[in-house]
C-alpha cells in the first residue's frame, strides 16, 4: 500500500533500522512524579480561600416534567452564595449532536440528571442547602428498554430531535427515539445467502458498563472580573472542552480567546473524561459567581450515573457460510441503548456500525446500527468504542458456527481473516495487517488443540479464541499539533495538547522527538497542557494520538532539525547535506572531526568572526491532519468516503478452569497478539495489554450493573459493582507484538490503547462453552450466571 496522501510523514528516518530511542523501553517521563506523590490531579490543586463549592440537585425520576423549582429556602442558608438552575442556562450543547443541556430544562430524562446547583463557601453547607431545594415533578412513564423505545407507540424522549444540530454523518429519524441510524450495505445479500450452504442466526446482548477510573471527575471554573473563563479539569479533551464551553456559553458574550482550559494529570480516563460531561457545570456556574473559583467534584456514585456509561446493545445476526467454512454473508442488527443524551454516544453507534463485520473478509454485508434514546444515563465513549460490544456476539456466534460445521475455530478464523488490500465494509482497502500471523502466534502460545485436564474432578477446563479489530473513530479533520523549544543546556520542551491518561503518551512523544534530534529522553520535558500555551489537539481518544500527535511531534522535530542545519551551514559554511544529529550534537558525514554541541547554539546562536551572531532560539512546529479521510458517504449504503484512517488487528486466546459447582473461573493463561505496527516502547505497550485485558475480563466476569424498575442505578459503588483486585488477575498474561509498519504512522506505528480489552468477553464465553458445553449469549458471565446455567442443564 502506498503511503497515504496529504498528511503522510515521509522521511529517510523510516528506513533507519538502528534506532537510539524508538523501540526501547524508555522510563516514563512522568514516572518520578507519580511514584513520589508529586503528580498533581484536579483535586490536588490549590485555589486559595476564595474557593467555592457546588453541590448538584439531582432528578430522582427517570422521566418527568419539571413543574416548579423553589430555591428560596436554600438561598437563605448562611454560607450559600448562589443557587442556579436551568433558567439561567437555556442552551443546548454537545460534541456531535446538540441534545444536551447544562441543567435540565422542562424535562428530566434520567435518574441523577442535574436540575440545579447550590454554590456555597464549604462543601458541607452546599450539601445541606441542596437538600432544601424543592423541585415539583409530573412523573412520566420512563422508557428503560431499547426494544420498547423502538415501538411505534413509545413515548418520545426528545420530541424536538428533528431540530437538533448534528454532524453531517448522523441520520436521526424524526418522531421516533432513533437519534442516528447507520446503514451499511455491501455486495448483494440475496446472492450471499443463496450461495451459502447454511445460515446461522442468533441474538446476543451486552449490558451497560462503567469506566471506574479511580479518580472521579472534577472541574474548577473561574470567571474573573475581566470576563476571562478558566477551567481546570480532569480531562481527556482540553481543546474540545474549550470549544464546547465557548459554543455553549456564547450567548453570554464569551468567545474562544476568553476561554482557557488547564489539564493536570488525569487519574484514569478510558473514554469517560473525553468530550464534555460534568465539566460544563464548572464552566457555567463560574459565570454566576464572577471573581470566585468554583469547584465541582463528582462523588463515586455520581461518577457511575452522571458521566457517560458504556452503552448496552442487542445484536441480532445472521451469517451465511459454505460447508468449507467460507463466510458468504453477514447481517447484523445492532440496537443500542444510548440513554438520555447521545451527543457523544451516537458516534459509538456509528463507528461500530461501520465495522461490525469484525476483521473478516465478507463479500456481502448488511448492517443496521441504531442509536436509541432511553431514560437511562447518557451513553458515551468507553475504551473500545462499541467494538467490545459487537465483538462479543460476533466472535461467540462464529465460534458456534465453526463447531456446527465441525471446523476448528482457529482454522475457520484463519480462512476468513481480512488481509491487506481486502475491501472494507465502506469500500476502502484494508491497511497493512499481520492478522494471520497474530492468529498463528496466539494459537501456538496457548497450545491450541491440546486439551488440558484438571486434577480436580470438580473443575472443567477449556480454551477460547477470538479476533479483534478497531479503527479510530474521529472526525475526518481531527488534527494534532506540536511546538518544540530548546533550553540553554540543549534540553528540550515538547508542547502538545493530547493528554497523559496513564498510557504513556508523554514518554512516547519524548522518544519521537529524541530519536529525530539525537537527544536522550531524560533531557526532554513534556507536560500536560494549558490551551493558552499549548497548540491545538482534538481529543485524546480513539487510540489515535501516538499516531496523530506522534506525526505532529515528528514533523516539529524535523522542522527543528532543519533550522539547526540551516544555522550551522550558514554560520560555519558547512555543507548542509552532510550534516546529521547524534549525541546532542551536530555532526558531518564529510568531516568526522566536526562536532558542535546543541547547547552551544540552540538559544544563543553562533558568533561570527566580526562579533555578530547567526541563528538564535530554535522554536519549531508540526501539524498533522489526515487529509485523505472523509466521513461523507451514501446514507443508504455507507459506500464512498474514507471514515477510518486505519484498523489495528489482533487475536487473543485463553485457557480457563471452571468450578462446576460455583461457576468460578480461574485463568492460568491468557494471550494477546496485536499488530500495531512499529512498537515504540515495549514496556508501555505491554502495560496496555495487561491493563486492557484485565479491564476487559472484568466486564465479562465481575461487573454487573443493576437498575431498578424505575431506572435508578442500584449499585453505584465499588462494594456492589465489582472491579478486579490484585487477587483476581490471570496467572499469566502473554503479549505478542507483530510489526507490520503503518506507512503514515510515526516510525510505522498505529493505535493500540483500546484494542487490548476488546476480545476479552468472547474468549471467556468461548472457553466456557469449550469447558462446559454451555453457550451463554448475554454478558456478564459471572460465576453466579455460570452456576445457574449448570443447574438449568441438570
Amino acid at each position: 500500500m502506498a503511503a497515504a496522501k496529504g498528511g503522510a510523514v515521509s522521511d529517510e528516518l523510516e528506513k533507519k533500522i538502528d534506532f537510539k530511542v524508538i523501540g526501547k523501553s524508555a522510563v516514563r517521563v512522568d514516572g518520578k512524579a507519580k511514584i513520589s506523590g508529586a503528580a498533581q490531579y484536579i483535586n490536588d490543586l490549590e485555589f486559595g480561600p476564595g474557593l467555592l463549592f457546588a453541590e448538584i440537585v439531582e432528578s430522582p425520576h427517570a422521566y418527568a416534567r419539571i413543574k416548579k423549582i423553589d430555591t428560596s429556602k436554600a438561598e437563605k442558608v448562611t454560607g450559600v452564595v448562589k443557587v442556579v438552575s436551568g433558567k439561567e442556562f437555556p442552551f443546548r450543547f454537545g460534541l456531535y449532536m446538540h441534545d444536551r443541556y447544562v441543567f435540565a430544562q422542562d424535562h428530566v430524562r434520567f435518574v441523577g440528571e442535574q436540575v440545579a446547583a447550590v454554590i456555597a463557601r464549604t462543601p458541607a453547607i452546599a450539601k445541606k442547602a441542596a437538600r432544601l431545594v424543592r423541585v415539583e415533578y409530573d412523573v412520566l412513564e420512563p422508557v428503560l428498554d431499547v426494544e420498547a423505545a423502538l415501538q411505534d407507540d413509545a413515548p418520545l424522549i426528545h420530541p424536538e430531535l428533528a431540530k437538533y444540530q448534528h454532524v453531517p454523518w448522523f441520520f436521526p429519524k424524526k418522531n421516533s427515539n432513533i437519534a442516528h441510524f447507520r446503514k451499511v450495505r455491501k455486495g448483494d445479500m440475496n446472492d450471499g445467502f443463496k450461495s451459502a450452504d447454511f445460515i446461522f442466526e442468533d441474538t446476543y446482548t451486552v449490558p451497560r458498563y462503567a469506566h471506574c477510573s479511580i479518580e472521579t471527575h472534577g472541574a474548577v471554573g473561574l470567571f474573573d472580573h475581566s470576563r476571562r473563563l478558566t477551567v481546570w479539569a480532569a480531562s481527556q479533551s482540553p481543546h474540545t472542552q474549550r470549544h464546547l464551553f465557548a459554543e455553549a456559553l456564547a450567548p453570554l458574550g464569551i468567545t474562544h480567546k476568553d476561554v482557557r482550559v488547564i489539564a493536570p494529570f488525569v487519574g484514569g480516563g478510558f473514554g469517560g473524561k473525553a468530550g464534555v460531561s460534568m465539566e460544563i457545570l464548572a464552566a457555567a456556574l463560574a459565570t454566576t459567581v464572577q471573581g470566585n473559583p468554583v469547584k465541582v467534584m463528582w462523588s463515586r456514585a455520581q461518577e457511575f450515573y452522571n458521566t457517560y456509561q458504556r452503552q448496552g446493545v442487542v445484536a441480532k445476526m445472521r451469517v451465511g457460510v459454505k460447508k468449507d467454512g467460507t463466510i458468504t454473508a453477514l447481517e447484523q442488527k445492532l440496537h443500542w441503548d444510548a440513554g438520555a443524551y447521545v451527543e457523544y454516544g451516537a458516534n459509538v453507534v456509528n463507528a461500530a456500525g461501520l465495522s461490525a463485520t469484525g476483521p473478516y473478509r465478507i463479500p456481502n454485508v448488511s448492517i443496521d446500527s441504531v442509536c436509541v434514546y432511553t431514560n437511562l444515563p447518557p451513553g458515551g465513549p468507553y475504551r473500545g468504542f462499541g467494538y467490545s460490544e459487537f465483538i462479543f456476539g460476533l466472535e461467540s456466534h462464529l465460534n458456534e458456527i465453526a463447531k456446527k460445521l465441525q471446523l476448528d475455530p482457529v482454522e475457520f478464523r484463519l480462512k476468513n481473516a481480512i488481509a491487506e488490500g481486502d475491501t472494507l465494509n465502506y469500500g476502502g482497502k484494508m491497511n497493512p495487517s499481520g492478522l494471520q500471523e497474530c492468529i498463528r502466534k496466539a494459537a501456538q502460545e496457548i497450545e491450541w488443540g491440546k486439551k488440558t485436564v484438571s486434577s480436580d474432578p470438580k473443575k472443567a477446563t477449556g480454551k477460547g479464541f477470538a479476533l479483534f479489530w478497531k479503527a479510530p473513530a474521529m472526525p475526518p479533520n481531527a488534527s494534532s499539533t506540536a511546538f518544540l523549544k530548546f533550553n540553554e543546556d540543549g534540553s528540550l520542551n515538547v508542547l502538545v495538547s493530547a493528554m497523559e491518561i496513564g498510557q504513556g503518551f508523554l514518554t512516547v512523544m519524548a522518544q519521537i522527538a529524541g530519536e529525530v534530534l539525537g537527544i536522550p529522553v531524560e533531557k526532554i520535558r513534556v507536560e500536560t497542557p494549558d490551551t493558552d500555551r499549548n497548540p491545538y489537539e482534538w481529543q485524546t481518544v480513539a487510540s489515535h494520538i501516538t499516531w496523530s500527535t506522534g506525526n505532529a511531534v515528528k514533523k516539529a522535530a524535523i522542522d527543528a532539525r532543519e533550522q539547526i542545519f540551516d544555522t550551522v551551514s550558514r554560520a560555519l559554511g558547512k555543507d548542509r547535506d552532510s550534516l546529521y544529529l547524534e549525541d546532542e550534537s551536530v555532526k558531518s558525514k564529510r568531516e568526522p572531526a566536526f562536532g558542535l554541541k546543541l547547547r552551544d547554539f540552540v538559544i544563543n546562536g553562533i558568533m561570527m568572526k566580526d562579533g555578530t551572531w547567526r541563528g538564535g532560539p530554535i522554536v519549531a512546529r508540526g501539524m498533522f491532519m489526515p487529509e485523505f479521510a472523509s466521513a461523507i458517504s451514501d446514507p443508504e449504503t455507507s459506500q464512498g468516503g474514507k471514515p477510518n484512517v486505519h484498523y489495528t488487528v489482533g487475536a487473543s486466546a485463553i485457557e480457563i478452569e471452571v468450578d462446576r459447582e460455583t461457576g468460578k473461573v480461574r485463568i492460568p493463561k491468557v494471550v494477546l497478539a496485536v499488530d500495531c505496527g512499529k512498537v515504540l516502547n515495549p514496556d508501555l505497550l505491554k502495560g496496555q495489554v495487561t491493563g486492557g485485558m484485565v479491564q476487559g475480563l472484568a466486564t465479562v466476569l465481575f461487573e454487573d450493573m443493576r437498575f431498578s424498575d424505575e431506572g435508578k442505578l442500584l449499585n453505584a459503588n465499588f462494594t456492589d459493582y465489582k472491579i478486579p483486585t490484585a487477587m483476581d488477575v490471570p496467572d499469566e498474561i502473554v503479549s505478542i507484538f507483530v510489526e507490520h509498519a503503518q506507512p503514515d504512522g510515526p516510525f510505522g506505528a498505529r493505535g493500540v490503547g483500546e484494542h487490548t480489552m476488546i476480545p476479552a468477553a468472547p474468549i471467556i464465553a468461548n472457553a466456557i462453552e469449550d469447558a462446559l458445553g454451555i453457550r451463554l449469549k448475554s454478558m456478564p458471565i459471572t460465576a453466579e450466571r455460570v452456576a445457574l446455567a449448570l443447574l438449568d442443564r441438570k
Binding site: 513520589s36 498533581q40 485485558m693 484485565v694
Partner: protein, 161 residues
C-alpha cells in the same frame, strides 16, 4: 458549633498540633488543612484504598478514620517514605519497571507494598496479591505491580514459602 479539640501527632517524623472538630475526617484534614496531597479520595467509603496512610505502623484507609483518633499517633504518608529527598529502592523498582500508568493509586499502593514487604521480605505471589488487594487500580491489571514487588523481594515470579 461542635467544640474543637487540639490534637498532636507525628506526621512524617514532624510533630504537628492542630485543632479538629470531632466529626472531621483524617483524609480531609491531611489534604485540605495540612496540605499533604498524596493520599487521594477515590470513593470516600473505604473501598478503593487510594487514601491509604500508615498509622503506628499499619496501613489504614484515612477516609474511614476521624482526625481526632490520631491524637498521639505516628503517621506516615507517601511523602514520608522518601530517603533524604530521593526515592527509595522500592520506588526505584516501580520507576524502572514502568509499572504505574495514571498514577492515582500509586501513593496507596506503594504504602501497602511497603507494609507487605516489612511483613514478608521475600513474599510469594499469593502474599503480594493479598497484600495489595485493598488498593484498586484500573489501569495496570496489577500484574506489573505484583511482578515488581516480587522482584524487590528477591525472587522473580515469587519466593517459595
Amino acid at each position: 458549633m461542635m467544640m474543637k479539640k487540639s490534637i498532636s501527632f507525628q506526621l512524617n517524623k514532624e510533630m504537628r498540633t492542630i485543632d479538629v472538630s470531632p466529626n472531621e475526617g483524617l483524609l480531609e484534614m491531611l489534604r485540605d488543612r495540612i496540605g499533604v496531597k498524596s493520599p487521594k479520595c477515590g470513593c470516600d467509603r473505604g473501598d478503593c484504598g487510594t487514601c491509604t496512610v500508615v498509622i503506628d505502623g499499619k496501613t489504614v484507609r484515612s477516609c474511614l478514620v476521624l482526625a481526632i483518633e490520631v491524637d498521639g499517633s505516628e503517621l506516615t504518608t507517601l511523602e514520608g517514605v522518601m530517603n533524604q529527598g530521593q526515592i527509595n529502592p522500592l520506588q526505584q523498582m516501580f520507576l524502572d519497571k514502568n509499572v504505574f500508568q495514571c498514577g492515582f493509586c500509586a501513593p496507596g499502593m506503594i504504602l501497602s507494598a511497603t507494609e507487605l514487604l516489612e511483613k514478608h521480605p521475600h513474599p510469594t505471589r499469593e502474599q503480594v496479591q493479598e497484600g495489595l488487594a485493598g488498593n484498586l487500580c484500573r489501569c495496570t491489571g496489577y500484574t506489573p505491580i505484583i511482578d515488581a514487588v516480587l522482584e524487590h523481594g528477591g525472587c522473580k515470579g515469587g519466593c517459595r514459602e
